[in-house]
Structures are given as C-alpha cells and as structure tokens.
Symmetry: C2
Amino acid sequence: MTEMEQINLMMGGVKHKIIVCSGKGGVGKTTVAVNLAIALAIKGLKVGILDVDITGPNVPKMLNLEEERPTVKPGSKIFNPVSGPMLSSGGPIKVMSMAFLLETPDTPVIWRGPLKMKAIRQFIAEGDWGELDYLILDLPPGTSDETLDAMQLVGDNSGVVIVTTPQEVATMDARKTINMSKAMKLNVVGIIENMSGLTVKCPKCEEEIKIDLFGSGGGEKAAKELDVPFLGKVPIEHKIMQQGDKGVPFLISNPDSVSASA
Amino acid sequence: MTEMEQINLMMGGVKHKIIVCSGKGGVGKTTVAVNLAIALAIKGLKVGILDVDITGPNVPKMLNLEEERPTVKPGSKIFNPVSGPMLSSGGPIKVMSMAFLLETPDTPVIWRGPLKMKAIRQFIAEGDWGELDYLILDLPPGTSDETLDAMQLVGDNSGVVIVTTPQEVATMDARKTINMSKAMKLNVVGIIENMSGLTVKCPKCEEEIKIDLFGSGGGEKAAKELDVPFLGKVPIEHKIMQQGDKGVPFLISNPDSVSASA
Ligand SMILES: Nc1ncnc2c1ncn2[C@@H]1O[C@H](COP(=O)(O)OP(=O)(O)O)[C@@H](O)[C@H]1O
Ligand SMILES: Nc1ncnc2c1ncn2[C@@H]1O[C@H](COP(=O)(O)OP(=O)(O)O)[C@@H](O)[C@H]1O
Ligand SMILES: [Zn+2]
C-alpha cells in the first residue's frame, strides 16, 4: 500500500477537515483552532486536532495536555492520538502534536522541510483517528512546506479558515494565504479578525474605554476585497490570553460570550 | 569559486552580524530588527537589513519601501540592495527582501525548503553589501530551514537577539530558539521582552491604568533560567503598531523613549 493509500484509509472515517492558517504568526491561530474544536465537541460532535506546527507546537499547552503521550498499539506502528477534554457524549477530543514527542519542552526541533513532511504524513497515515465529524489542522505561519503538505493531503470535504489581526502587516500575509488556498482549489470558509479592539473599565470612575490597540476592520476589508466570507471579530480579552497559558481554552469557561459566536 | 567562498567574499566588508529571531511569530521580531537598525544608523554606523522571512517578508513595509526595487549591475548577477532611510553620515540603510521580488503584495511565495535556501544564499552571495558595521538578519518564526541557513551562514563576529512576549506559549518557543543558538555555537546577545504591559489614561478622570494584557516577566524569567542576558522590556504602545503599518518605525519619531533603550 502506498503512503497516499494509507493516508486515505486512515482519513476514511473523517467527515470534514478544517485547516486553520494565517500567513503571519502570533495572530491567534492555535487559540481559534482549539476553541473551534471545543465548540464543535460541546455540540456532541466527534472532533480531532492535528498540530501541524512541527517546530513550534502549542496545541497541547493550550489544552493542558503537555504531560500526556500518545500510545502505540503493540506490534504495530499505528498510534492512538492523545485523548483531550471530554465535553459531551461525542467522546474526548483526539489530539496529535510534535510536542508529545519532545524530550523536554525546551528541546528545539531543528528539522528541514523533508523531515517535517515525513512527520506530518506519519501523524495522518499512522494515527488511529477512527470516526470523526471534524479534524482541525492547526498550521504554522508561512506558505511553505507544512502549509503545502497539509493543503495537499486534506483532499475533498475540507475547508480553510484564515485568522488575522487588524494590522496591515498581518492582513497582507493573510491575503497571500487566501490566494494560496484558492490556487490549491480549496474551499475558503472565511476570515476571522482576532484581537480586534480592547475594552477596559476604569477602576476609578467605571468609564468604559475602547482602545483600538491593533486597529480594527483590516480583516473585514480583506474579506470584501478577496471575495471570501467574513466570519466575525474577536476582541482582545485578557481572559483569552490567561487561559491559553493555563490550558483552559476560553470557550469552555465562557461559551456564551461574543467571542464564542465567531 | 564555490558559493561559500562567494558568500565569504561578499560578507568580507561586514564587521558584525546580528540575527533577530524568536521561535514564535507575531512577537515583534521585525519591529525590533528595524528599530535596532535605525538606532545604529542614527549613531552614524553603516547598517544593512536582510529579510530572511521568505514567505512572509514584512521589512519593506515597516520601512515604507514597498515600492522600491533592488537594481542589478549591468552584465552581472550582482545586485544593489535597496537604499532605505538616510539617518546620518553613515549612509542609507541597505535592505534586501523577498517582498521586492513579488509581482503584487498579495502574491504567495509557495516554496519548499531548498528554494528558500537558494534565495537566502543568493541575497547574501550576490548582494553588493559593501562596507557595513552591522548586518541585521530578520528571521521567520520556527527553527527550520531559514533559521538553520541563517545561523550556518553568518559565521564569526555574529550574535543572536531573541524576541519574546511575556506569555508562556511565546517563551516556550523562545527557549527552543535559545537552545538552538547554543547548539549552533552562536553568541546569544540576549532576550528582549516585547509587549510587556500596557498603560492607558482614562479619558474621563485621567487615571493611569496599568493592564497586564499579555502578562509580564516571562522573558526575564527565561533569561535567568537559561543564563542569557536580559536586554529589557518594551511596553505595548499604540504608536508602535501604527507606525509599523505606516512604515515610520517607532524609533525615528521617539528616539528618547523608554523603548528605544531596549
Ligand atoms: N482575542 C485574544 N485576546 C487576548 N489574547 C489572545 C487573543 N487571541 C490570542 N491571544 C493570545 O495571543 C497569543 C498568540 O496566540 P496563538 O493562538 O498562539 O497565535 P498563533 O497560533 O497564531 O501563533 C497567545 O498567548 C494567546 O493566548
Ligand atoms: N511593543 C509593541 N506595541 C504595540 N504593537 C507592537 C509592539 N511590537 C510590535 N507591535 C506590532 O505587532 C505586530 C507584530 O509585530 P512584528 O514585528 O511584525 O512581529 P514578528 O516579526 O515577530 O511577526 C505589528 O503590527 C507591530 O506593529
Ligand atoms: Zn476614569
């Protein structure tokens, strides 16, 4: 069996694949990917997350799974993804990441393209993902090896969600990624504008102060110009940052908030 | 002449090389690289910037050079880097970036490792960098191809500046990059903690409100634990974001401010 046949076999039980990418780093891709997976799992769907950022894997940390390890089935090379939070009858979120394979969290992965590609293919071809409604792929920044691999491997019934912050340096990288998705004939689900505006309450006089810290509207403008759906804005909230570091993603504790609807 | 001999020849006039990297994206690497170059140029030193982020090149935008193009010397493959702002008798900052070679700013660079490596080597081997006191290399996130190439090509009299934001997801990627620099036997100049705290003035009662938006102290803690110098904190300032998008880097208009001393 060729590797591609193996990949198609192991992906056979996955109904939809969603690629979360951005072009620029630090805009909130992992935060969105993890929260998207949780929102779907809360509804009772079977969900998996594949961390495709081989040299900067952050998914396990954001789900408080840093100490977990995938298990390998005896006598075979097939592994079981790590079981993440169990949020409904749909079962635990299944997670695979390079972070699970590092000796220490400080160990750098100094790999060039071919080794990264091999790892991504193995995570898909040798993982027992089973029956999933959604597999979310969290991509690293850039339009190079990992992004190319992920976009080539997902095949049909997949979509791309682009995350950006409002600044022009972020939207210009997001536009490159949208054009790449179109060139790869993938369905662009839409753009999310993250870190869009900050509201602070004055501790003295209780005035609500709106700060356009990173500007606002850049993502919406890019969506209009490139003719892709605009999925909404997520404000900067201190809670989102805190919970990312603690491994309790934002959505679990505040499902009804405005950010959750994005 | 081999490529490496050519690289050593063209780098012959460069006294010091500084690699600015971070592991995680969106932490302010390009902002720090551009401001560092400007601070050195203001002192009368000869400075160049090489944008090593091949698929997400942001240096020209932050220096308002998006419309410029490098020129090629007639009958040879040697090119002249673009001349950036002229801040003193040291001459204009010399700049080279993939952004200068794109048809449109929205054109994605869909290249794998080997092509990226070829481009980086050409930017160094075929650029007429001439006499420089400092060449600043602005790296993409991650510890893969571009980072490996840049660290292997700089050779002696070079140093690495690591940029991080205070969050744990950022410092954990920064630590990987520090360990990579040490493994490559490079001199780690130190860590800069960027976006460390935000101060806002209430428009109603003039109260100064300090917000730990992304936390604070993460970079300093990593510096102590990994035994590398801590170069200081740069707060979140709306001016820094605005000027990054307009191409007027922060330092030029506010040289004396606290951020400039980092
Ligand atoms: N809307 C938001 N408000 C506040 N902090 C956020 C928000 N979105 C993301 N963050 C924080 O910003 C940092 C970068 O987010 P991350 O998801 O790691 O970005 P990426 O995956 O694009 O590199 C993290 O510390 C995260 O907690
Ligand atoms: N201290 C700061 N305060 C406010 N905005 C900042 C600060 N540092 C960087 N930025 C903004 O954050 C964004 C990301 O910075 P950038 O230098 O592009 O990061 P990187 O090169 O690590 O991807 C840019 O829009 C920049 O203007
Ligand atoms: Zn007030």
